[in-house]
């Protein structure tokens, strides 16, 4: 008896978003990146198109981060120089784009000024040709201040800037609109707030193709199933023509995976867990591969060895 494959038919697709801008487009990037556009669930090429391959953004911070030595040792001396670090991510580790996190802006830390932050952004832009993602620190008031200055200093570059949240989106959405950048809209693992935030930002006048969804993720073993179900609902909504959930998704997997004890605790402490070097790579790589399966378009990663594993996984899934 022959078996006929049951194929789902979808009425719509995920929206496409372009990151970065070349000289002709008003920026200085040597190339741009397009994400989204899929017309089926991820990698189900027999049901629809996986239009643009998922990309990996490697995380760079403006001050030396408190990451585990397994990661810091791979990065080496450049870790104290954001521009050189960014260049190494692109040239040596194969990052598709760079994610610059300005933790030095935190008022209870270095308390860097907006102008200093903007200068670092310009330095990184000068060091690499790929598109740039810029996020501030964890203080929303300070972020509004620095992102307004950064957005203006990088006018026309079409940065992906973040983050907009339900109770703090107007200032950064306005900065994105005025200076022609793309915006990350983050919701706290909540599909209803995710949709509502997109509606609110869109009502301010930012086009839907200038928004990227950050649904918030969790590391392997710490609620990744819940993340998966939220992302799946968003993707199925997009495919069923829910325009307010149709934006491509960014996942900060490096940040989340490396918060898990399994990614940094030593073998001496937990002999049953095995070699830390392998374990930390796998923890981040498996977290990333998990969210890839449900539609992540941009993976923000830290561990260069994990990036290499996930790049191969993407190629295998795409079939090229």
């Amino acid at each position: 008896m022959s078996v006929t494959l049951v194929k789902e038919k979808y009425s719509s697709k995920v929206g496409e978003v372009v990151l970065g801008a070349t000289a002709e487009q008003g920026g200085t990037r040597t190339s741009t990146i397009t994400v989204g556009g899929d017309s089926a669930l991820p990698f189900l090429q027999f049901e629809g198109e996986t239009k643009n391959r998922p990309v990996i953004a490697m995380e760079v911070t403006d001050i030396v981060p408190t990451w585990s030595d397994t990661i810091k040792n791979q990065i080496g001396d450049v870790i104290s120089d954001p521009a050189a670090w960014a260049k190494k991510c692109v040239d040596d580790f194969g990052a598709d784009l760079v994610y610059l996190k300005l933790i030095g802006a935190a008022p209870d830390g270095e308390n860097r000024s907006a102008e200093d932050c903007a200068r670092i952004v310009k330095d990184v832009l000068a060091a690499v040709g790929v598109p740039l993602i810029v996020e501030g620190c964890d203080d929303s008031e300070k972020n509004n201040e620095i992102m307004a200055v950064i957005a203006e200093a990088a006018t026309g570059e079409n940065l992906l800037i973040g983050i907009a949240e339900q109770d703090n989106y107007k200032s950064i959405a306005a900065a994105a609109m005025v200076h022609k950048h793309t915006l990350i809209a983050r919701s706290p693992l909540d599909i209803n707030i995710c949709k509502q935030l997109n509606i609110l930002i869109h009502e301010m006048g930012l086009p839907l193709n200038k928004i990227i969804i950050d649904p918030t993720v969790a590391g392997l073993g710490f609620g990744i199933e819940y993340v998966y179900s939220i992302m799946e609902r968003a993707r199925l909504g997009a495919l069923a023509n829910d325009k307010m959930l149709s934006m491509p998704i960014i996942c900060t997997v490096g940040h989340e995976a490396n918060r898990c004890k399994e990614a940094y605790a030593s073998e001496e402490e937990f002999p049953g867990w095995g070699d830390l070097e392998d374990r930390s790579v796998l923890w981040e790589a498996v977290t990333a591969s998990g969210v890839l399966q449900v539609g992540a378009s941009i993976l923000v990663m830290r561990n260069p060895a994990a990036v290499s594993v996930v790049k191969k996984n993407i190629s295998d899934m795409i079939g090229k």
Binding site: N192, K195, Q196, I199, E203, R233, D242, K243
Partner: protein, 264 residues
């Protein structure tokens, strides 16, 4: 839930006058106003305002003047199939033919026309003898229409079965039969045909028209109603349609869901 705006109908004085005087303004006014209200399609019916021999020309004219101001697809509503065909020829987007009863002669006229113009069909669960009293006979007529769609190659989702609701103040016993018909029609094929009602009919000549329309629509949607020819400018009625989408988990909830439902 699809909303077919009912207002461009020669039964209304302003539209009847517009048709007689060839004045596009009232027709265009209602095209835009219904779109703003939340209509997904515009029903177009000359009613008795135009003599039979002028209907072909009238439908072509109506379609053209509506398309000057609205991008919405149209539901061409007439018993005169030549008039519908004249309208289909000038429609820019796939339209819906309203309507075809379960009568062989009419099926042979309408279904090939639907294929030719890539149009949908509203199929009425009645024949020459009229509207059945119970669900069983309504569903039997629906089955004839489903079989015709199959025979002529009309995709099942392009067939809208209308189980015909009558005014509750004179034919109360029909209301639950129509709900039962909606439930059963959805089980006639896989994929199922879609369903539609001329909703306002349920409240004809009752003092509490809006309340009856809203209540019956919510009940009908829960029973399987996919579309209604209705008052697209009764905001509360459109809100009920939007809320049903949420309560049946067909659309993901967001605080602004009412606004999003109306966004085109």
């Amino acid at each position: 839930m699809l909303i077919f705006g009912e207002r461009i109908n020669g039964m209304f004085t302003d539209i009847g006058d517009a048709l007689r005087n060839k004045d596009p303004k009232p027709i265009q006014y209602w095209a835009v106003k219904q779109q703003e209200g939340g209509a997904h399609y515009l029903d177009v019916n000359s009613g008795p305002a135009i003599p039979t021999h002028e209907r072909v020309e009238a439908y072509e004219w109506m379609v053209n003047v509506i398309q000057e101001v609205s991008e919405l697809p149209l539901v061409l509503d007439s018993t005169n199939y030549d008039a519908i065909e004249a309208g289909l020829k000038v429609c820019k987007r796939p339209a819906i033919i309203n309507s075809c009863p379960a009568e062989q002669v009419k099926i042979e006229r309408v279904f090939p026309m639907a294929i030719q113009y890539n149009a949908g069909i509203i199929g009425l669960t009645m024949d020459k003898k009229g509207i059945p009293k119970d669900a069983e006979n309504r569903v039997a007529f629906a089955m004839e229409l489903v079989a015709a769609a199959d025979e002529y190659g009309v995709p099942m989702e392009d067939l809208f079965i209308d189980p015909l609701i009558l005014p509750v103040n004179v034919a109360q016993e029909h209301a639950p039969e129509v709900l039962e018909s909606l439930r059963q029609v959805k089980m006639l094929a896989n994929p199922a045909p879609r369903t539609v009602l001329g909703l306002s009919n349920v409240s004809q000549k009752s003092p509490d028209r809006n309340l009856i329309n809203r209540t019956y629509m919510a009940m009908a949607i829960a029973s399987g109603l996919d579309a209604a020819i209705m008052d697209a400018n009764d905001d509360d009625l459109v809100d009920v349609a939007a809320t049903c989408q949420i309560l049946l988990n067909r659309s993901i909830y967001a605080d602004s869901y009412l606004k999003v439902f109306r966004a085109r």
